[in-house]
Symmetry: C2
Subunit: 438 residues, 2 copies
Amino acid sequence: MVNALKEKIAAKTAIIGFIGMGYIGLSLLDAFGSAGYPLIGYDIDQKKIELLKKKKPYLNFLDHKNLFALMDQKRFKISNDSVVLQEADIIIISVATPLDRYRTPNLTNLRNAFLTISKHLQKNQLIILQSSTFPGTTNEELLPLLEKSGFKIGKDFFLAHVPEVTDIGNPEFSVAAVPKIISGITTACRTLATSLYKQLGCKTVACSSTSIAEAAKLLQNSFRLINISFINEMKILFDHMGLDVWEVIEAASSKPFGFMPFYPGPGVGGSCIPIVPFYLVWKAKATGGQAVMLEQAGHINDLMPTYVFNKMIQGLNLQSKTLNGAKVLVLGVTYKKDVNDLRESPALKLLPLLKNMNAEVFYHDPYVKELSQIEECPGLALKSIELNYEMLALYDAVIILTDHTCYDWDKIVLHSHLVVDTRNVTANVKAKSKIVKA
Amino acid sequence: MVNALKEKIAAKTAIIGFIGMGYIGLSLLDAFGSAGYPLIGYDIDQKKIELLKKKKPYLNFLDHKNLFALMDQKRFKISNDSVVLQEADIIIISVATPLDRYRTPNLTNLRNAFLTISKHLQKNQLIILQSSTFPGTTNEELLPLLEKSGFKIGKDFFLAHVPEVTDIGNPEFSVAAVPKIISGITTACRTLATSLYKQLGCKTVACSSTSIAEAAKLLQNSFRLINISFINEMKILFDHMGLDVWEVIEAASSKPFGFMPFYPGPGVGGSCIPIVPFYLVWKAKATGGQAVMLEQAGHINDLMPTYVFNKMIQGLNLQSKTLNGAKVLVLGVTYKKDVNDLRESPALKLLPLLKNMNAEVFYHDPYVKELSQIEECPGLALKSIELNYEMLALYDAVIILTDHTCYDWDKIVLHSHLVVDTRNVTANVKAKSKIVKA
């Protein structure tokens, strides 16, 4: 049975089904489609399915051309009816694994996806989880859901965990360019998953258990949270000392070993850095262990929008203005430059702070036309202004939150009364007296 | 006046005096001596001067051949009389900057060195500090000492800070291979220092102030403390979860961007990682700022010898033995492999813990013949045993603390009852039941 599937993988006749049509799912569909595999896409989100069927991209940083061509060639079937999953030889799951407000992992998406698979499970199917989650999830939480089918793992079906490692919006690291960490419940599970990713030309790294693979992904993201939070703490400290953290980092970066520069900002967003590490923190507590540095790093990250906010009040104050009644323009609301992704964006924390102080708040973002029905700030209903550099004098303060490539920093400073810069993009702009680094 | 010294530097006739004959001082002497400069070496430590004069190396990881040849050629004058410093055109200071037991910076060495220089200060001398210290030291603490001479900075004499960046015992990074972060009290100070290091073929990075250069060095070392402590916290956590941290790190390291592996151990030693970051923590408090993550990292580091100690008690316990009365052999007492450097070594914390529990303690280290008169453990008086692998069964437990290259890990495990491995050097050794990772 293992061999039959292995042969289908090698012959590229294995049908690959995907649950979750987010960035990861679509990237993988693109990669496996380009490699020649027939594809099935499934999502419970009716809106995404509709947009895909109408060939309307909802992610600005992913090229959909190839996927749409595959649809035309009837090699990529999209559905919101889970029964399509019965046709797949392989099912790859990449659904979101969020946290609730208490930083407790919410595995609802993941459990539902696995319950759906279980309902339709076919003999010899290979199930691959690519969502990030805490050590033990695949083995202890998800495997039992599939075993409800009555099928036996490693014999009747196969379950692997292959953490997704990606740099969103960075074309340098395609799916194939990133080595795949591969683990399975049994050796057969791992072998099958390995043979699949090898077909993409990926390097593979075998783990002895799915828990090790889950932990490896959490360690990667935790490393980033630790270091970004640390440099943000240093930003605040060096500011107290009258030193420019950016100049300190530049000098320190000359060290040719044992150093990796991280850069401060208004707080981290997306899923990998602000969310994933807290799957480890949560699991730590359940095992009687500790992750104090991660908790501290999360705390520092939480503080960053407030730090930016206070720097702005101080900047206005030195111009004899209050935030109350001030016109404030936020430039960039996405968590990362040049992507249309708002997940955990510091903007969603900063905007309510400004509103609560009775500022008149405006924003501009070329990738986000309106902010409304945001779960984090239910009262928010704003539309992106049209950016006219010469009109910036209308605002009492401009906050640079996201360093989108399209912005002209010189012009922004030239026409503004006060610029709060969280990204050091105005480093080479003259007129320092107008600029507050935050 | 600047030009006169510049010309001497270019002509390599400038006499370079050094205060502090430790690793940094000797490395720099070697580099500048090889470049052709006449040298003077001064240290208040009479023992070091005597050993050098007798051509007896006291650091095993530094090749002294070149330095001794320079002595023979009368191009390297050594003295413990500070009056020799009057002959120097340039004086480079690399004295230790330790902490007291309350983690308060102790600038005594540094102040004394500068008071000595001040006493002998000559017109047009260039003074270069290469010791690590908190932001503001050069400008606020040391400059005033030199100004006592009545000379004027940037006119009559010059003061620069060039933090020392080095990987002790790693021949890959010679003095010339590491870019130099260069700062001066005035532009002339920085220009002179830059021209000097350029003569070694060093890349140079200019900083706008000595405080920036000081902070850059502290950031480099703090980054390492943060990350080593974090991975040690993860080691403990993953152990709770039944996962091998080393396998997790190996898998995580396959990520081709945004990740840098750090490895756990029994605690960090030397000066750069356990000492230098606390110069920043101390200064943070004085400025009303915070360095919470660094303090937490220091706390985790402090715990590591106790963690190893407890793992050993547990290992003995499972063999139905108590530590009380057990014969324990510690392999390696230096803080880093293949160097004879004991500074802040975790061994100096672990050995007293073992003794206090009435263990019979032995150690072996090819680079440390005896442990006595150690400031941290005044009661300690041990001599390195002769290592005979076949005799290891005499000990109830063997702790691998330093992974010196000379050790044969297979033999160590083969002949021991219990091996506590803090360095994962037994990863590929069979007989896992004898091994406790710690």
